[in-house]
């Protein structure tokens, strides 16, 4: 759509900008402020420069939490993206089945995150949970409160349960936007199922897949509530991801300086990745065939 140049339109954006600035910029500046100061209590602060940043970037605790976070995000992306794509491809294309599928599949997305944690905390328990009870009945030693492997498995299955539907819904939205004429042309040419997927469906879905990867990466990268409820970061520190670690440091131990420095580093990583994805996405917007907009 042709847009007109009008700087007065900034006034229309002003209420939203002011509100978001109030909720985002002020707290962020507080964090930056803490990250360069130290305190002995009594609200007396003094300048320490980049001291906390050096401490955090060199600390084994941060490295360990960061590596766990990367491992977690990479694992769930490797499972959820192909799985979501496969399910979207096998979903019915029309009729009542579509609505039923959409509604049932979207249900986990609308459950409060701590309830998702509670559901899986109960479901995977050895004594009263269906999953834990069954696995132990089969002779598999599965106890997520004691065994780090079981804790990881529980969190990963939980995340797959919670979020794969998002990938399915996005891929499905991309699929139904493909004009039927493409498929007819493919049939006339005698294209194989694989060729249809590789040369028609996949290119048409590249944009929604990109959004799916971005959202799943971001949301898994800042996951807090679910591991907090299910494992509390344990056993030991086995499932202490970045957010869990940050909240422990900031609110549990009240180490304001290091926690603030870690927040800033954390936030910068997120912005960097968002920026990279945003650049790719907006570049596609200007291509003639780029997406639905």
């Amino acid at each position: 759509m042709q847009k007109t140049h009008d700087h007065k339109a900034l006034w229309l954006v002003a209420p939203a900008l002011l509100l978001v600035a109030f909720t985002a910029v002020i707290p962020l500046m507080t964090v930056v402020n803490y990250s360069v100061q130290d305190t002995f209590g009594n609200n007396q602060f003094f300048w320490v420069g980049a001291e906390w940043y050096r401490e955090i970037l060199r600390s084994d605790r941060f490295h360990a939490a960061f590596l766990r976070q990367i491992a977690f995000s990479a694992t769930i992306l490797a499972i959820e993206i192909p799985l979501g794509l496969a399910i979207a491809l096998s979903m019915p294309k029309k009729g009542l089945g579509v609505s039923v599928c959409l509604v049932l599949m979207a249900l986990p997305l609308l459950i409060p995150w701590n309830v998702v944690g509670t559901i899986w905390q109960i479901f995977a328990r050895v004594d009263i949970g269906l999953l834990g009870h069954t696995l132990n009945g089969l002779g598999i030693d599965f106890n997520y409160t004691q065994n780090a492997g079981a804790a990881w498995a529980t969190l990963i299955i939980m995340d797959v349960w919670h979020w794969t539907s998002l990938v399915v819904l996005l891929c499905y939205a991309g699929l139904v936007a493909i004009p039927p004429a493409y498929y007819q042309a493919a049939r006339i040419d005698g294209a194989s199922r694989w060729a249809v997927f590789r040369y028609i469906e996949l290119p048409k879905m590249s944009r929604v897949l990109l959004i799916a990867v971005l959202l799943r990466f971001m949301d898994s990268f800042m996951i807090y509530t679910e591991p907090f409820v299910v494992t509390g970061g344990g056993p030991g520190n086995a499932t202490t991801f970045l957010s869990v670690d940050l909240v422990k440091m900031a609110i549990g131990q009240f180490d304001l300086g290091p926690a603030a420095a870690m927040s800033v580093i954390y936030f910068l990583i997120v912005i960097l990745v968002s920026w990279a994805f945003y650049t790719i996405m907006t570049r596609e917007d200007f291509e003639p065939s780029g997406g639905a907009r």
Binding site: L12, T23, S99, L107, L110, I122, I128, G129, W275
Partner: protein
């Protein structure tokens, strides 16, 4: 006949299996909410042997439980109203005009949707304490605008861009002022978009726990926080916990049918 039936089964095998996988944990929570604590802990049964509604009665009669739902509903509704009202004019500006720094503002809004809530928990606590809003509904409602205003702007912008400009121009020629045009003509045209945006603001405020829990202690404590306290207490009341969980799933389950065709858009920041 037989072959085509087989084909049907094979085709829907994956989605069916996936839906069973999704429903099993929810089913487990549901059966647990209908069992007595004694049955939960002593026998392992796939369905309740002594069906009871006692767990639900506890929630509806105990103020510390049901006030959690009321608190959540209050701040979630406030947040939805604030987010949609602020996002409407902004989305119109982004969809119709080019102005100073528009692309940068759009990106900046994206970063807020992507900001880890853990980063904001402590500064939010201090900010709202210092202005005397700690433990109020409005504090949580304002804090949640952090990710809901950007989301609402994106969803609305998508819907607004589908309305042809000619409608705006015709209205101005007919002598409508901007506010009158916006409320009388434009808003009815994107009514479904406003509904979808409101639904997702409601949903994302409803599912969030970390910020809501940090900003409240007693007076505005959300149901999610009431539940985590029960988890950490000794001598758990599993049945009541399960019933509380089922009740938090209901709002989403009840309205999801109406937005089923727009779910992907809402979760994809309006970009699908």
């Amino acid at each position: 006949m037989n072959a085509s039936r087989k084909k049907f089964h094979a085709k829907y095998f994956a989605p069916t299996l996936y839906i069973i996988f999704l429903m099993t944990p929810i089913y487990w929570l549901l059966t647990m909410s209908l069992k007595t604590n004694q049955e939960i802990l002593s026998t392992f049964s796939l369905w309740p042997e002594n069906l009871t509604l006692a767990n639900y009665i506890v929630i509806f009669t105990d103020a510390s439980w049901y006030s959690g739902y009321i608190n959540s509903m209050i701040y979630v509704s406030m947040n939805t109203v604030i987010s949609v009202l602020a996002a409407l004019p902004a989305a119109y500006a982004f969809s119709r005009h080019r102005f100073l720094g528009d692309k940068h503002i759009f990106f900046w809004l994206l970063t807020n949707r992507m900001a880890p809530p853990a980063v904001f928990a402590l500064p939010f606590f201090q900010l709202y304490s210092s202005i005397g809003l700690f433990d109020t509904h409005i504090a949580v409602a304002l804090a949640h605008t952090l990710f809901n205003i950007p989301l609402a702007i994106w969803i609305l912008e998508g819907f607004m861009s589908g309305v042809p400009r000619e409608i705006d121009e015709t209205a101005y020629i007919d002598g409508y002022s901007f506010p009158k045009f916006f409320v009388k003509i434009f808003m009815p045209l994107i009514a479904s978009g406003i509904g979808v945006a409101a639904f997702f603001c409601f949903m994302f405020s409803w599912v969030e726990l970390l910020i809501a829990r940090t900003l409240t202690s007693v007076a505005a404590k959300p149901i999610a926080a009431v539940m985590t306290r029960t988890v950490s207490a000794s001598g758990l009341d599993w049945g009541v916990l399960a019933a509380a969980g089922i009740l938090t799933i209901l709002p989403g389950a009840l309205v999801i049918w109406f937005v089923r065709h727009h779910i992907a858009r809402g979760f994809a920041l309006g970009r699908v």
